[in-house]
Symmetry: C2
């Protein structure tokens, strides 16, 4: 990069907010999916929308690629730097700008941590619903970029359902207002288009999030089953009774054992499947639904049932689930966290098929997932030091995603496509659809400067992809707890 | 249009499905906003996605403009034909293709009437929630094109919140699948982008709609007030108590009197403002919320309160509201139905300002609107036969939309922009935003063949617009009951 460009960047953000030395650049070389890594030329840390506008205008002028980055907890390598380009860290844009208690809205900057929003709002009896497992660390900007979910998205939706407007800086450095407080908007609706677009259409510098009243009561049921099919059927039974749990999570044997050994949450270690079902709302409704749900679980063949009687007990029950990823990490030198969705009714057959593949590949799988919305997170256990095992793991993972698509589902549930699943895009979409994605990308970013090569396969993608992975094939998969 | 093109169209749909004679073309010259009208070259009525693909490929080859049309009940001239172009009527694509009771989903063609979906689903205890006042006549395809709402969209959302996927034919004749049964999707999310895009990005030929269980109980409260401010404040009080009514509608003096004279719904004719508040859900919840809501209305200064005790009574209470537009139509030779949104808290000041303008322009206004979500429908009463009165009405209408934008709202609530509000787009959006809309339009429709000149102002728009309106200035405003 020319010295003139560095000088210009320094004039925009100040020299103390540009990282260039390799040592300090190192943490930015990957996100939570560390098998992919690459060093950027520099990391620039702006402090305002105006600074982001100036940076984008400069990068547009000099044709420099830009990868926007939140907290780096993503699990699909969406924030992987691009060689020769810059990383635009939004960490300094970390203020809650405004809260409107009556309307239940808060305006926040992208670098604000997910959990920090709820902590701040709790003084007003409000909270922000989407809760990825990484919510202590992940930023709301990253949540928007990947359309993050969490255990409560069955009832409360993904990020896209909990935000109402954005301020976006374009590839050319212009400022766009996207979305509106009104339900309907004039012009084209770019809010959902931007959400989950993985930094490829613009840089989000302000987010208006919807806050909800903290429910009067929340209670969790933990139900053990002696087979996965019964648990999967119970999930459908609950929902077809018109009950929408706040969370409806499922784990199978390896995950149950690992989580229990790690968190001592009181899970039945001999169970082959476990359901966690949280009900929330006003106390009467919750207790009524609890009775109905217990009876459904009973009929579905639950071998054990346990209900939280206090918030402390509820927190402990969730602790097992929320620490399941690192807990599973203790079972094996490495694990690879997959993320796909299937129609809820396909849960049992798809899990059976994953089990069959697990035997075929001779790789263990721990399943930890959002059963209520059919979002699977199979964790494939492997050892990167065994030659060929990473490759075998990736092949297994690709087969899982193929099964999801065949079952009428999707190659992502909440982690995004990033660099990881870009080959699977060919299974999900036809040529006309992929071409349409690229035309829309070009409509926002003519010169393809914003996170090029991620999310949507480009004609020259396959070659680049292969080269990058080969040079990295010994890296560990897995990262910050998510999902 | 060349004979070769007619021949090719005939080969696609059969000669009996092309309308060319002026007499038969006449009903297609406008939609529900009949001040704008124009004759197309012909109307083509395809019967399948494949036929639509063939028509679009042909029109792309010969550069013929295409305006897709549902039932023609739209109120913003979105389906106004374009001279020299064709109208693509989707009336023959009128089948319900599939219903999945367990998942609460139905796959329908665009020509299916809104109400027909609920009628069909009622056998399974399900219904389709969005209910524009025109629901007897309007088609689901038109609902998608305009992102239609209705009295129940406060609780259940607009069209975009009640559909999960689309089949879309592009301007080039390719088939795109948009959206997915999964909550998250890979690639860019085009579902919300397509919804409300007024036929400018593609032709929707299949819609998967979400069906909801019919609520166990629904009851309506009718509350009279002696001033508009008290009623507006009551709206905020109800919602800030955490109650989300299925519908929360407001009417003022002229509308109350007209509706009562027309429908004999039992409204208090001396009231200056009326609220209709519907609560639905399980019986216990509804009755509990009813008690709370009545007490809120009491405290807010309601001068009369009446609660429905049967479905027949509830239907009668709604009949007044649902027939308010034609009822108001009897007060004056013509009326002009506006559609804008404002933040709920601005209801009282905005209504005061509309009242002031009503005196300034010396034109009566009847307000009938979705108060719960701040969606205003002021009906300006005028007489097109009085020279200058239409122009005065339009100026008044433009001021109302300006007030909406200034109050932090939007120039459309559920009727769309179409041809009607295209000038107001300049008030809602800055140059960068308008340019971005046009780039996305071009990304889908490079040659601008799909409904060009609607929704998004183009550089040459102003001139065309002026010419078209002058030649039509004696037409009546108003049309099919909507909103």
């Amino acid at each position: 990069m020319e010295a003139a460009i560095f000088d210009a960047l320094e004039r925009i953000v100040g020299s103390e907010h540009i990282i260039v030395d390799k040592e300090t650049l190192h943490p930015y070389e990957c996100d939570g999916l560390s098998v992919y890594c690459s060093l950027p030329t520099c990391v620039v840390l702006p402090a305002s929308t105006e600074e982001v506008m100036a940076i984008m205008a400069l990068c547009s002028q000099y044709q420099i690629t830009v990868v926007a980055r939140g907290a780096g907890t993503g699990l699909s390598a969406g924030a992987l730097p691009i060689e020769g380009g810059i990383v635009l860290s939004l960490a300094r844009l970390n203020s809650i700008l405004n809260i409107d208690i009556k309307s239940g809205l808060a305006v926040v900057q992208p670098g604000v941590r997910n959990l920090a929003i709820s902590e701040f709002a709790s003084d007003y009896g409000l909270y922000y619903a989407p809760d990825p497992s990484s919510q202590i660390a992940c930023s709301i900007g990253g949540n928007v970029a990947e359309n993050a979910g969490g255990v409560h998205c069955l009832k409360y939706g993904l990020t896209v359902h909990n935000i109402i407007s954005l301020v976006v800086v374009t590839a050319q450095g212009a400022r766009l207002s996207v979305g509106d407080k009104s339900a309907d908007i004039a012009g084209f609706d770019f809010l959902a288009l931007m959400t989950g677009s993985e930094g490829m259409l613009g840089v989000v510098t302000e987010i208006t999030v919807r806050l909800l009243p903290i429910p009067e009561l929340a209670r969790v049921i933990v139900a053990g089953f002696d087979n996965v099919e019964n648990a999967a059927n119970a999930v459908n039974d609950i929902i077809s009774q018109g009950i929408i749990p706040a969370g409806l999570e499922m784990m199978d044997s390896y995950a149950i054992q690992a989580a229990e050994d790690f968190a001592h949450a009181g899970y039945p270690k001999d169970a082959h499947a476990l359901l966690l079902c949280e009900l929330d709302g006003n106390a009467d409704d919750v207790n009524h639904q609890l009775t109905v749900t217990q009876s459904i679980l009973d009929k579905a063949g639950a071998t054990s049932l346990k209900v939280s009687n206090s918030d402390a007990e509820r927190a402990l029950m969730w602790k097992g689930r929320k620490s399941a990823f690192p807990a599973v990490g203790r079972l094996s030198p490495d694990y690879y966290c997959m993320d796909g969705t299937i129609p809820r009714r396909q849960l049992a057959p798809v899990l059976t098929e994953i089990h069959r593949l697990s035997q075929h590949y001779n790789l263990r799988v721990a399943n930890v997932f959002h059963a209520g919305d059919g979002n699977l997170h199979p964790l494939i256990l492997f050892d990167a030091n065994v030659p060929g095992e990473l490759e075998k793991t990736e092949a297994f993972g690709a087969e899982i995603l193929r099964i999801c698509v065949e079952a009428g589902g999707c190659i992502t549930g909440e982690h995004g496509v990033g660099m990881e699943k870009i080959d699977q895009m060919y299974e999900q979409f036809n040529d006309a659809e992929l071409a349409q994605f690229l035309r829309v990308k070009a409509a926002f970013d003519t010169d393809s400067l914003l996170n090029p090569g991620k999310g949507i396969p480009t004609p020259k993608h396959c070659q680049e992809h292969t080269i990058m992975k080969r040079s990295q094939s010994k890296q560990e998969k897995g990262g910050a707890p998510n999902g």
